[in-house]
């Protein structure tokens, strides 16, 4: 605890705009890009960005992106980088490091209490988030779907379906529905997965691209059962009587904070990341969005009632699997091309 308090003081004192000597630093504008919008972005704003603005006096510009890798790449290629901190998923981080898109961090938070494998020279992990099976509770009140086998079972669980418009995640769900066990998912049998997907394709009413879509569509009765990002459902709060979801067969992914190459505020970006990695701040974020912070020390600060909803809670963690980003970093292009062709068949 003392270690953290000390680093906290150092960050505040040496960066503060409130310090008169550092008044020229007040022209700093940091652009922080979160992955996905809606309630998730709000959790970043309330837990990290506003507190950071308060303590340092810097201007922070919080925006969102939806994994527009091409946009990031062209920004860096043209040396005109307007983003300072970017939240990336594991697969994008790996691809980006290979293509030289990220800066090594200048300031390193204390990552000794981080879950193993969630910190590197280029990036620091933020949360484990999950894609889960979500459904309209009112429609399935007698017969609750609890696995992807149920999603594929259109006789016993009839309804309008939706899935994420990307093979990542869906191929794994198809294999799980086809009887493959979670431990033997990778390397993915792509043929088998696409054959299984052929079965459910006629019943898919829509493919969603944005995190708010499945939640909105179930709420306004366009879709009955779908995959969805768990945090968006969690953020609806206790007033949510419509959407149910299960951690069973859920797909977990790790999100990282990284700094794009040629960012104009590299050092301050690193410091923001260090700030966002502090356990108290991560706990605050977890309470709002229900994602699993990678800083295990953060669990101490999370409210008990919320702990059981986090994907990193042992009972939930055992029901889920983690998407293998190495396999996806290697195969993403070929599989995505196959996916695009398959969707038009």
């Amino acid at each position: 605890m003392r270690k953290h308090f000390l680093s906290f003081i150092i960050i505040v004192l040496f960066l503060g705009c409130t310090n008169q000597q550092n008044s020229k630093n007040c022209n700093v504008q940091l652009t922080v890009v979160s992955y996905g919008g809606g309630t998730y972005h709000q959790s970043h704003i309330d837990a990290f960005i506003n507190p950071y603005k308060l303590y340092t006096g810097f201007k922070v510009n919080p925006i969102v992106w939806n994994a527009e890798y091409g946009k990031l790449k062209s920004m860096i290629q043209s040396r005109n980088v307007t983003w300072d901190v970017v939240e990336v998923t594991d697969a994008i981080l790996k691809r980006g490091i290979k293509e030289g898109l990220f800066e090594k961090l200048s300031v390193f938070p204390d990552t000794s209490t981080f879950i193993s494998g969630t910190a590197s020279y280029y990036a620091v992990g933020n949360v484990y988030w999950g894609t889960v099976l979500a459904y309209n509770k009112k429609k399935y009140n007698n017969n609750v779907p609890s696995s992807w086998k149920d999603f594929w079972d259109v006789t016993n669980f009839p309804g309008r379906r939706a899935l994420y418009d990307n093979p990542r995640g869906n191929l794994e769900f198809a294999l799980l529905a086809d009887g493959v066990s979670k431990d033997s998912l990778y390397p993915l049998d792509v043929e088998r997965a696409f054959n299984k997907l052929d079965e459910i394709k006629p019943y898919i009413r829509a493919w969603w691209n944005d995190g708010t879509e499945p939640v909105q569509k179930i709420l306004n009765n366009s879709i009955d059962i779908s995959s969805a990002w768990s945090g968006r459902i969690f953020a609806l709060g206790s007033s949510n009587k419509t959407i149910g979801y299960t951690w069973n067969d859920g797909a977990l992914e790790l999100d990282w904070w990284a700094v794009p190459k040629y960012s104009k505020e590299k050092i301050i970006a690193s410091r923001f990341i260090a700030f966002a990695s502090m356990p108290e701040n991560m706990a605050k974020q977890a309470e709002m969005i229900g994602y699993g912070p990678v800083n295990e020390l953060a669990f101490k600060y999370v409210n008990d009632s919320i702990k059981k909803h986090l994907p990193t809670y042992p009972l939930n963690w055992n029901k889920t699997f983690v998407i293998n980003s190495d396999w996806w970093a290697k195969n993403e292009k070929v599989v995505l091309e196959k996916w695009l062709k398959w969707k038009s068949e």
């Binding site: 062209s74 969603w208 995505l336 062709k341």
Partner: protein, 260 residues
């Protein structure tokens, strides 16, 4: 010297800021090694769908906006002219996204459809199908087609109509034999123009098609934005550019005022 500049400034501007970049892009793409030109075969279904949807869009847009342009031109009351103009162009000011969302909302909103006493099931089932994508694209292109067509109508020589009436022609005959031929050029321009514009569309098919209708624009978007694979995106775009060459020829022929 001054009149030369004034006459040709738009042309020079377009050459520098539009034609040059396009030629640079085409040159860069063609000169790259390792280009996979077979992408058009790999994605032949999206290409085919794009072609069909664009043709239908252009035909229906022109077909539906022709009567509106005709009424506007033949209207004697200035009020009617104003009402038509406002009615056609106000939706355009709302923007593409708003109008797309409006259609989605219209087809999903039970209460609204009940008020209009239409069949909800029928409309709700239309959503996320190819039919509705075509309907909305036609809706989006009617203003453009109308704008092109009224240029044609304004070029009609009124004396030819007076002559036809004095020779005892029926109204339907006048329409077919006097008015159609004089607006034919603009009809052709409108058809080709809308076709070339709609082959690049990706927002409307994505939203109204529920991600199930993938046109060439959607494929390019995935390569460009999701993968950052600028090479493949360029190649597919080149194929689209080739598809706009007929429009270029039509435009040049009309500019040179070749009689066809």
């Amino acid at each position: 010297m001054k009149s030369f500049l004034v006459k040709y400034i738009p042309f020079i501007f377009i050459t520098i800021f539009f034609l040059f970049p396009i030629f640079i892009w085409i040159g860069n793409t063609l000169l790259e090694s390792g280009n996979d030109y077979s992408l058009i075969l790999f994605y032949w279904k999206p290409f085919r769908n794009t072609f069909y949807i664009s043709i239908l869009t252009s035909i229906f847009s022109v077909f539906l906006s022709y009567p509106i342009a005709f009424v506007w031109w033949s209207a004697k009351s200035k009020l009617l002219k104003i009402i038509i103009s406002i009615g056609i162009f106000t939706p355009v000011t709302f923007g593409l996204l708003t109008r797309n969302y409006a259609w989605i909302g219209l087809l999903s909103d039970e209460n609204l459809i009940k008020i209009l006493s239409l069949n909800f099931e029928f409309l709700n089932d239309l959503l996320y199908t190819t039919k509705i994508v075509i309907i909305v694209m036609v809706y989006l292109f009617i203003p453009l087609s109308y704008f092109i067509l009224i240029q044609g109508f304004q070029g009609i020589n009124k004396t030819t109509i007076d002559a036809a009436i004095s020779m005892g022609a029926e109204p339907s005959e006048i329409l077919v034999k006097v008015i159609f031929p004089q607006t034919r050029r603009q009809v052709i321009i409108a058809l080709f123009f809308i076709f070339s514009n709609s082959i690049g569309f990706y927002v409307t098919p994505k939203m109204l098609g529920g991600g199930k209708i993938d046109l060439v624009g959607n494929i390019i978007e995935r390569y460009l934005i999701l993968l950052g694979d600028f090479k493949s995106a360029s190649i597919i775009s080149l194929y689209l550019l080739i598809a706009t060459i007929p429009l270029l020829l039509v435009a040049i022929i009309n500019m040179l005022k070749i009689r066809t």
